[in-house]
């Protein structure tokens, strides 16, 4: 169950590892300085396939190509939503993921945990 859909405008279907049908929540928004913020939300029980984290390089590449986003203009955020569980590992988190671009696709993800306030600033300019 997702308690907060603020960071999710649509459900995005993608083919994950070995072509397995997968889903994530998606929000694409313009940020200041001409960059585009993509927030990919892990759907847990509703995602039948590969997690956003495991598939982030392919997902980010696919989304940039589909939406005409230049690789160097992307701000990619992985969002794990609050599941409403008493277990701490289902709390809400945001990770900004930096990638390298090899000319055709993103590689070598590097995660940085960021507070919600940073996400809000990015979304609200």
């Amino acid at each position: 169950m997702l308690n907060n859909k603020k960071y999710l405008d649509t459900i995005y279907n993608y083919k994950g590892e070995w072509g397995i049908d997968s889903q994530c929540g998606l929000k694409i928004s313009s940020a200041a300085n001409g960059k585009t913020v993509i927030i990919a939300t892990e759907l847990y029980d509703k995602n039948p396939g590969t997690s956003v984290t495991q598939w982030n390089t392919y997902l980010a590449t696919e989304l940039c190509i589909k939406n005409g986003i230049a690789p160097d203009k992307l701000i990619f955020i992985e969002h794990t939503p609050d599941k409403g569980s008493k277990l701490a590992f289902y709390n809400e988190t945001f990770y900004k993921v930096d990638f390298e671009w090899d000319g055709k696709k993103f590689i070598n993800p590097n995660w940085e945990k960021i507070p919600k306030e940073t996400v809000e600033k990015l979304l609200n300019g």
């Binding site: 029980d45 590969t50 277990l87 990770y95 995660w111």
Partner: protein
């Protein structure tokens, strides 16, 4: 054709009693092979493997991450002899990319209804590198009965006592548990086998003690009740993972032969205390499964948990260290936070710490893991507690007239190895 099916060995956990159960993946897979295939099965955990060219095709079935490097090594040797090797099983699916260089083919998914095509490809020298059925699960009605006849049965006895046979009545899991890859492997849809097919298979199993290895039977109450009702006449006794805690379900489970269940114990709450009591009220034993190293656990929490376990009258306890297997949330979180320091798959056995815990050092978590085992079994050893649980089922079998005495011809061996029997008074 001669098909060599191999189940690679792995290093057993330090300090624990080793029990080799007849592996389930290989016998389920063997049932999906056409009848003309002559299967020679070797479980390397109980018998030696001779690598030679006496077979036409090799299948390596791997369940555990800690098996995969051995599986790769076996495949490499066979491929040097010019014999093609295909991998399958749970850890093949979790480590598919890494397995590819060691394989002529990898099979991803469930093989029911698929192997005729694979063998036809092999025969015509067009074996595919990947048989990918991750998105395409077979009709669950095609499943089973498993080919338990391929097992070398005498090797699964401990001092004349037969080990439980494994069986599954469903696939898939709609839960999304933190350390678990099951939803990746079997899908998020719960797929129960038709009751009559499950019973048909149970009737083929001579062993009257079973381990029902379903991820969780507690996913569809009506199906679960129907299954238990249908099992009652078979008079099998069995252990399983969690069953639903509704009284009417537990009553049926007990009548159907529920011997003991694995119950996760994750805190010291009354919920857990009451759950254990409820199982006991219905005559069902409980083996607690305790995961150590979660981010919300401090050292004090772990010590308190161990004390709690001793209070709640658990029949057995199994302690494991949180292990970030690929395709789990645990893996995702640990990778993001760069907390995994050991990627040697041999060490991914749930007994070695391979990541930096949040509230203590890795070394301290490792110490607490051994402390947990030693403390819980301080007054009564694991063998003594297991004997008590075993005596419960023997008593029940004697009442029911289904008891079989131990095989005296195997009384001095354990999983194929000679041992000395110590007759001790309790």
């Amino acid at each position: 054709m001669k098909f060599k099916l191999i189940y690679p060995k792995w290093e057993k956990l330090e300090g624990q009693t080793t029990f080799n159960l007849p592996p389930h993946g290989p016998v389920v897979f063997a049932a999906t092979l056409p009848e003309y295939v002559d299967i020679d099965f070797v479980d390397e955990n109980v018998e030696p493997l001779t690598i030679d060219n006496s077979c036409d095709f090799v299948g390596i079935s791997m369940m555990l991450t800690t098996q995969i490097k051995r599986g790769w090594a076996i495949a490499d040797e066979y491929r040097k002899l010019g014999i093609k090797v295909m991998f399958g099983g749970i850890s093949t699916m979790l480590h598919a990319e890494e397995t590819l260089p060691h394989a002529d083919a990898i099979f991803l998914g469930e093989s029911e209804g698929r192997m005729e095509k694979v063998l036809d490809d092999w025969r015509n020298n067009r074996l595919q590198k990947v048989y990918n059925f991750m998105n395409n699960r077979p009709d669950i009605a095609l499943v089973g009965p498993a080919r338990r006849d391929i097992l070398n049965r005498d090797l699964y006895y401990h001092k004349g006592v037969q080990m439980v046979d494994l069986f599954h009545a469903s696939r898939g899991c709609h839960f999304s548990c933190y350390p678990c890859a099951v939803s990746y492997l079997g899908g998020r849809d719960f797929r129960p086998r038709p009751i009559h097919k499950a019973i048909e298979e149970l009737e083929t199993i001579e062993n009257n003690r079973l381990f029902i290895v379903d991820n969780s039977l507690a996913q569809n109450t009506e199906w679960e009740k129907e299954l238990f009702k249908a099992m009652i006449p078979l008079k099998k006794n069995w252990c399983s993972h969690t069953i639903e805690d509704k009284p009417e379900v537990l009553e049926l489970a007990a009548k159907a032969g529920a011997w003991y269940v694995y119950q996760a114990v994750f805190d010291t709450s009354d919920y857990i205390r009451n759950r254990i009591k409820q199982y006991h009220d219905f005559g069902i034993g409980v083996e607690g499964t305790i995961l150590l190293g979660l981010d919300n656990q401090t050292e004090d929490d772990i010590l308190r948990l161990i004390d709690f376990l001793l209070e709640i009258d658990l029949d057995l306890a199994e302690f494991t260290v949180l292990t970030p297997f690929p395709h789990t949330k645990a893996w995702d979180d640990m990778v993001k936070e760069k907390r995994i320091f050991n990627f040697d798959w041999n060490d991914y056995n749930a007994g070695k710490v391979v990541f930096h815990p949040k509230n203590m050092s890795a070394e301290r978590l490792q110490e607490l893991y051994f402390h947990a085992w030693n403390t819980f079994y301080k007054d009564e050893t694991q063998n003594q507690k297991m004997f008590k649980l075993f005596r419960q089922v023997v008593t029940k079998e004697m009442d029911e007239g289904t008891y079989r005495s131990r095989r005296m011809d195997l009384a001095n061996s354990s999983f194929g190895q000679k041992v000395e029997r110590k007759i001790a008074s309790l």
